[in-house]
């Protein structure tokens, strides 16, 4: 029996294919850059205003300021410990130099 084109088409169409997985839409959107807003961005925004977070201290913009404050703090701490053991007049000299750095 000769198989006509329409019969062939019906025969091929009767073979179903597996469907897409349930997460296909979300994973494709995410890979294409349409994912959810990053959590960090959500946390630093409140009523449309940017909030300051500690993590921002480590960003390029604030890194030098953070470094200076940290060094000054360490110097002050060292000075006060040293002063207890040595003569008190050292405090004035070192504190002055620290303030100059700041």
């Amino acid at each position: 029996m000769k198989l006509e084109d329409d019969d062939l088409k019906s025969l091929i169409r009767s073979a179903k294919s597996p469907g897409l997985s349930k997460n296909f839409l979300s994973s494709t959107l995410e890979k294409a850059g349409f994912g959810a807003t990053p959590l960090a961005a959500v946390q630093t925004t409140h009523n449309g205003h940017k909030l300051f977070s500690v993590s921002q201290l480590f960003t390029h913009r604030y890194s030098s300021l953070f470094l200076i404050i940290a060094i000054a703090g360490m110097l002050l701490l060292k000075t006060s410990m040293h002063a207890e053991e040595e003569e008190l007049h050292h405090i004035d000299t070192l504190s002055l130099s620290t303030l100059l750095v700041l």
């Binding site: 179903k16 294919s17 597996p18 469907g19 897409l20 839409l25 494709t28 890979k31 349409f34």
Partner: protein
């Protein structure tokens, strides 16, 4: 909505282009719209070509990334034809790199089939689908692509030519050979 999937008109192409550009400009809703409209049929086509659900899904996903980021759509054909061309080329590239593996009947998860269906009937449909897929896999990749577009999506010769980026005469010959070869296979392997 497989019938008319390749249908195209200047108005429709323009509307498609607007949705695509909105998606490219970061409109998530437009991107979702495109994925939902083109994804299932593109996946079915890719699966028929590569015979593996996960690999077919990867191909379609990569094709969407290409559509959203780099592919140049000028609205000369329908967006679906344009997207199918991306998927088809990705499938042919994939097959050039890797040999197809034997068909796994467990791959079938027939979406249109209700869970309370007769298990015997379901098995018969699965076997029938597996048999047709295994026969299609005996065709060359380009013949398989042409006959899949024609049979499943009612693609015309012009659509096949545009999708495969070949001349209309070449598409006609390709489809003709694919049909003839499949008919022979159906007789030889009943």
């Amino acid at each position: 909505m497989k019938a008319g999937f390749f249908s195209s008109s200047p108005e429709k192409n323009e509307a498609d282009m607007a949705v695509l550009y909105a998606a490219r400009n970061g409109d998530k809703h437009s991107a979702e719209q495109l994925i939902l409209a083109l994804g299932p049929n593109a996946h079915a086509l890719a699966w028929r070509m590569v015979n593996n659900t996960a690999e077919a899904q990867d191909i379609v996903q990569e094709s969407f990334l290409k559509l959203f980021k780099s592919a140049r759509f000028e609205g000369r054909s329908s967006l679906s034809t344009f997207f199918y061309a991306i998927v088809s080329n990705a499938c042919l590239d994939f097959l050039r790199k890797k040999n197809t593996e034997p068909l796994d009947e467990d791959e079938f998860e027939l979406q249109s089939f209700s869970s309370d269906a007769d298990p015997g009937h379901l098995l018969s449909i699965k076997q029938q689908a597996a048999r047709m897929q295994s026969l299609l896999l005996e065709l060359s990749p380009r013949q398989r692509l042409a006959i899949s577009l024609w049979a499943y999506y009612d693609a015309s010769i012009l659509d096949i030519a545009r999708t495969l980026e070949i001349e209309v005469n070449a598409a006609n010959q390709l489809l003709h050979r694919a049909k003839a070869n499949l008919k022979i296979l159906l007789k030889e392997k009943p």
